[in-house]
């Protein structure tokens, strides 16, 4: 079955708000096994909304609209949807009661325009809205379904969870199941080349590639009559991907981030960690701190931006700074060693580089970054050349630092060397 989303609101067209409703509804529909081929945003305009809904109904089985259900003159989603399906509006006594109750409970005055919200299309299913005044509406007509939801996420999400999800779950017997294989330390084109044959022959399940900064995610998706069967289809392909990408796979759990996987490794091996950052200015520490439970392993992090701070707080030799410069393999190494020593951590990761826009030279261009990781005295340094603006270079550096930490910890315990 196919579903299509129409989000109504001038504030979306003006870019005043980000369309998180579309992402939420799309994810829920995918989880329900519904195929979504189109999402549209239109303003509170009768003519354009009418045309958009008409087109949507011609090509999709289910159309979910959000927004434009409020009491003001602007709000005309319900009126327009009823017109498209040729339905009259009539007053719903129960909704009227709930409206009265809603305002009374809050000691608010019920203005005249609010009664509009008790009007529902003939034959529609009315869905209660405990978090607002506009009820949801479900209309069924000629095998098609039109669902109207309020725009505020605080009303839409609870309504979807409690009423619309169960309603839709009964609409399509097929199940969609996805699993994501997350890779680090490998680029998108390289990764795709390694699975060209799998992509060429894909059917059910499918493989989709998503490039993130410093990461590649491979999503395997199967469609089947039941969850068990769908999982059975996904399993061998995930296994094959794990075989091909080996140590580049850091997780096959959708919820696990790269920083989480690093923290898990630290916890599993009873290692404490500290950071010594220059160009990333605290972003690496912040990434680690974003993992709940990190306090077990992370006690302190250090942003040593000046040469003096590198010398005083980390014990980087003045002679190294003079001879090689702050952005050098040697200084990165001394930062990692010094941080481990000064702050008594098993693992210390240091980042020093030129994030730009200024500070680059022919010999040391913007984007040159050295990252060192010290695991109990064993230090590894890598040189990187990142592109993009200051922010992109710093984000790339953080991901590369996490990737290097993971590699160094794994190498320390397994004696396996990475490329």
């Amino acid at each position: 079955m196919t579903v299509e989303l129409i989000c109504v609101g001038t504030e979306l067209l003006l870019g005043n708000i980000v369309n998180t409703n579309a992402a939420y509804l799309a994810e829920q529909c995918a989880g329900l096994g519904l195929s979504c081929y189109y999402q549209t945003v239109v303003g509170d305009n009768r003519e354009r909304l009418f045309a958009t809904l008409k087109t949507a109904l011609e090509r999709s089985d289910i159309v979910i609209l959000s927004g434009g259900l409020g009491p003001t003159q602007d709000d005309l989603t319900k009126e327009t949807a009823a017109a498209v399906l040729g339905k009259e509006l009539r007053e719903d006594a129960h909704t009227k009661e709930l409206l009265e109750e809603f305002f009374k409970k809050r000691g608010l005055e019920l203005t005249e325009n609010n009664w509009k919200q008790a009007m529902v299309p003939d034959g529609a299913i009315v869905v209660e809205n405990p978090n607002g005044t506009a009820p949801g509406i479900i209309m069924e007509e000629g095998g098609k379904r039109v669902i109207l939801l309020p725009g505020p996420p605080g009303e839409l999400i609870p309504m979807f969870e409690s009423s619309i999800y169960p309603y839709l779950a009964g609409a399509d017997p097929a199940i969609i199941y996805s699993q994501t294989v997350k890779l680090c330390g490998i680029g998108e084109s390289k990764a795709e080349t390694m699975i060209e044959d799998l992509i060429a022959q894909q059917g059910n399940p499918t493989i989709a590639t998503y490039a993130k900064i410093g990461e590649v995610h491979l999503r395997v998706t199967a469609r089947a009559a039941g969850e068990k069967e769908a999982k059975k289809l996904v399993k061998p392909l995930v296994k094959e991907l794990k075989n091909r990408f080996g140590m580049n796979v850091y997780t096959t759990d959708e919820k696990v981030t790269l920083e989480q996987s690093v923290v898990d490794l630290l916890l599993a091996n009873g290692l404490t960690v500290t950071t010594a950052e220059s160009c990333t200015g605290g972003l690496l520490a912040a990434k680690l701190v974003n993992v709940p439970g990190v306090s077990e392993v992370f006690k302190s992090g250090h942003v040593t931006y000046s040469n003096k701070a590198k010398h005083k707080l980390l014990g980087v030799k003045k002679s190294s700074l003079d001879k090689y410069g702050a952005v050098s393999e040697c200084v990165a190494k001394e930062m990692a060693k010094g941080a481990a020593l000064a702050y008594k951590a098993d693992v210390a990761t240091a980042v020093t580089g030129i994030a730009g826009p200024d500070g680059g030279s022919e010999e040391k261009p913007v984007g040159l970054v050295y990252i060192a990781c010290n695991v109990r005295g064993k230090v590894k340094v890598k040189e990187f050349h990142f592109s993009g603006d200051r922010n992109k270079i710093r984000e790339s550096s953080v991901i590369a630092a996490l990737t290097l930490m993971r590699q160094c910890i794994l190498e320390y315990y397994s004696e396996v060397a990475f490329r």
Copy 2:
């Protein structure tokens, strides 16, 4: 002139990512005075993309597409757009060179599929992409314009700013001129209430309110035949806004961020700064380090996540930690004082709070954050109650810390007390 957005990507249809590109592009287009009536999301599917673009071209003057320009087989936006306009693809020598350079510079292997990115539609304007491998494309045909942009925001935004905005600004003979009055330390509804009369009577120029985390931006936009005339329309309204919001205005320069304005204040007064962070884990330091030229004032930052680190690195008293807990007014104060002393800085800002999801209690709920700022021995502490998830609470804390720093420095020098 009308503009329409088409965002291409299966990950949008599946709800894996939120469509921030649409919000960004819509906001930019609104600023350019272009009317946007439709935004559509379609997957990487030739047939559906072809139909969507065709419809868009029938009803809008300009169509901006984002996504689907990469090297993989999935990526077919360029091929499809060329087909809709009846254009052949040909190899662009300059783009090919840039591609070679891009990979060479990074020491990466250029896989065969990347050459696809050097193919451009006949007669198209090719827009360089310094942050990635897929160039932007502009096609003009029969009075219509089709613009193709790469999907990753880190590539799309810089490209839009440097090339597409000026291109579109030239597309309409009327000039649009905007100036933004940026506020901190005041909420959106408060700010709106203070300019209700101005909003009610707006014409040319208009005022638009944008709520950011911890900030409110007021954008004044005028439309006129020439830039000089437009600026003349904007000037008195900006002056009025500055009068009304006084010290809450931190800049009227679009390019200046809050962190930039803080660093400017530090530079102007010859003050050095350090940070002592707990729940923000380095994000405050990272914000400061993101300002070019910060090295003059920022030497080191400190993430003291554990109580031990707070005691050892900042000299927070063990008795204070025991008596009041790490998240308390007293500890925030001692962190700021201790950091200034230990790291010899004129200004020290400390953040300690509960970012959640765990760690909250009835007495100290998730979202409780104390921020202290010490300017040459004068310390001010503020208590905040932020809402949202871990990330939102940490971001709100960073903005509040910058706002407090600004207030404390201004107060120190002007003897003006803020609310």
